[in-house]
């Protein structure tokens, strides 16, 4: 019943080539930088995992985190709502060169599809995107005279997220707006791996203040003082560090 794992390397050791991976965070807020970099370390050492499908609101910034994952050529496809950003060059270049696929999903539909995946709802109807290019080929149905688009659930083989507190059972809290997609991605991943800034004993989180109950979590690894993507990018950090 103790879901703690000692090292980042062990935490990401089971993710295979071709896996679908949800990664928490909105821009840099909530991005599990250390877990992503552990995945890159494994790839550099072993050549795996590659051909990943990555689900995140964005497509990375600068040269760390998801951008670094893309830069290494580990990602076959991105599923996101907003692949444009201040410095999205890594994704943009690969996309325009036809080296990476993109499934563009409206942000609320992305969130609801992920929640549906976690909640056992294979499909639902939303007004979002009706009449637009993003609804092309999707079933449409009218309810009470209004038209809705049918959307399917999204699930992942693995979910990687960052949380603030995590107890041994995997109960989690999040820091401020770093919460964003992480609670629903925790639900939708067959295996959910969490880097927590502080591991606490069971009982260390008030039962009423638990945001993600441990049933949605498979592994936690403590990473005190995690890097903040925005800060890394303002310092023009590259991962892995470029050798001079």
């Amino acid at each position: 019943m103790d879901k703690r794992i000692a090292t980042l390397a062990e935490a990401v050791a089971d993710i295979p080539d071709g896996a679908t991976v949800m990664i928490g965070g909105f821009g840099g807020s909530g991005a599990p930088i250390e877990l992503i970099h552990a995945l890159i370390d494994r790839f550099l050492a072993t050549g795996s995992p590659k051909d990943l499908t990555v689900i995140n609101n964005n497509a990375g910034n600068g040269h760390v985190g998801i951008a670094a994952l893309i830069e290494q050529g580990m990602v076959r496809k991105m599923v996101c709502s907003f692949p444009r950003s201040a410095d999205p060059r890594v994704f943009t270049d690969k996309y325009l060169a036809g080296q990476i696929e993109l499934e563009l999903v409206p942000q609320g539909t992305l969130a609801e599809r992920i929640r549906a995946g976690g909640a056992g709802i294979p499909a639902f109807f939303t007004p979002t995107s009706f009449g637009t290019d993003l609804a092309k080929g999707k079933p449409v149905q009218e309810f009470e005279g209004r038209s809705y688009v049918m959307e399917r659930w999204l699930k992942a083989d693995f979910t990687l997220i960052k949380a603030e507190l995590g107890d041994h059972y995997g109960n989690l809290t999040y820091r401020m707006a770093a919460r964003n997609f992480s609670p629903i991605m925790a639900m939708a991943g067959a295996k959910t791996i969490v880097q927590v800034t502080r591991a606490v004993e069971p009982g260390g989180i008030e039962p009423e203040n638990v945001i993600t109950p441990g049933i949605f979590v498979d592994a936690i690894v403590e990473v005190p003082a995690p890097a903040q993507e925005e800060a890394l990018n303002r310092a023009d950090t590259h991962y892995p560090e470029v050798q001079a």
Binding site: M1, R115, G117, G118, A119, G120, I121, D167, H168, Y169, N171, M187, E201, P202, G203, I205, P207, E208, V210, P213, G214, I215, F216
Partner: protein, 223 residues
């Protein structure tokens, strides 16, 4: 005729199949007893539909807090590491396949895995609760039941005659006489009470019992 297992003994037998760390929902009534019989060294996490994960024993009479109850509206206590959540999140856990085991009562179980446990027919007030969600959500749906009805009719049948709770959902049945798996539309006998012959067991079972290997005696203590 051989002695049948008591309800507590059926619950004890079912408890032996629950792994350490499993997330478990126990149906209202007799299945609730399963929690008492966890083997030493194993600790399951119990889920209740009304939004609690990680609850423990009933509180001492007089110390109940009626904001802290289970799906059967009985007072409970919390273990360290418990969590509260709302009903939609609770059934996201159920429907989304996050529970390892649901253990329910039954009126009838069919060899196809169909379960009838919510309605005995059109008379009275119908009530369904969370059973229809549980049977489609948990990774493993097991049933605890007397092997026959009070008037001696089989509860393990070819086809349920009572209104269904779910189709093809049950994978194992713990009865007062046997442990039976449901595989590919067949009842497969795994264990039976010591001294009961296969033929005598088949005689009180409403569908063919198959053999899928050696049949053990159910090894259950007095509880």
């Amino acid at each position: 005729m051989t002695a049948k297992l008591s309800n507590a003994q059926i619950a004890w037998r079912a408890a032996q199949d629950i792994a350490d760390g499993a997330y478990v929902n126990l149906g209202i009534g007799f299945p609730e007893m399963v929690a008492k019989f966890q083997p030493p060294g194993r600790q399951a996490v119990f889920h209740t539909e009304n939004g609690v994960l990680g609850f423990g024993e009933a509180p001492a009479p007089g110390t109940e807090d009626w904001d802290l109850i289970n799906a059967g509206k009985k007072a409970i206590t919390l273990k360290p590491g418990a969590a509260f959540f709302h009903h939609a999140d609770s059934f996201a856990m159920v429907r989304g396949g996050h529970l390892d085991v649901a253990i329910l009562g039954a009126y009838q179980v069919a060899e196809t895995g169909d379960l009838a446990n919510w309605s005995t027919g059109p008379k009275g007030v119908p009530a369904v609760g969370g059973a229809m969600d549980l049977v489609h959500g948990a990774k493993r749906v097991a049933v605890l039941t007397d092997h026959v009805t009070k008037d001696g009719k089989p509860k393990l049948v070819e086809k349920c005659t009572l209104p269904l709770t779910g189709v093809g959902c049950v994978t194992r049945v713990y009865t007062s006489l046997a442990v039976v798996d449901i595989e590919d539309g067949h009842f497969v006998l795994r264990e039976k009470v010591a001294g009961l012959s296969f033929d005598d067991l088949q005689a009180v079972t409403g569908a063919k019992l198959h053999l899928g290997g050696p049949v053990a005696d159910i090894d259950v203590p007095e509880v």
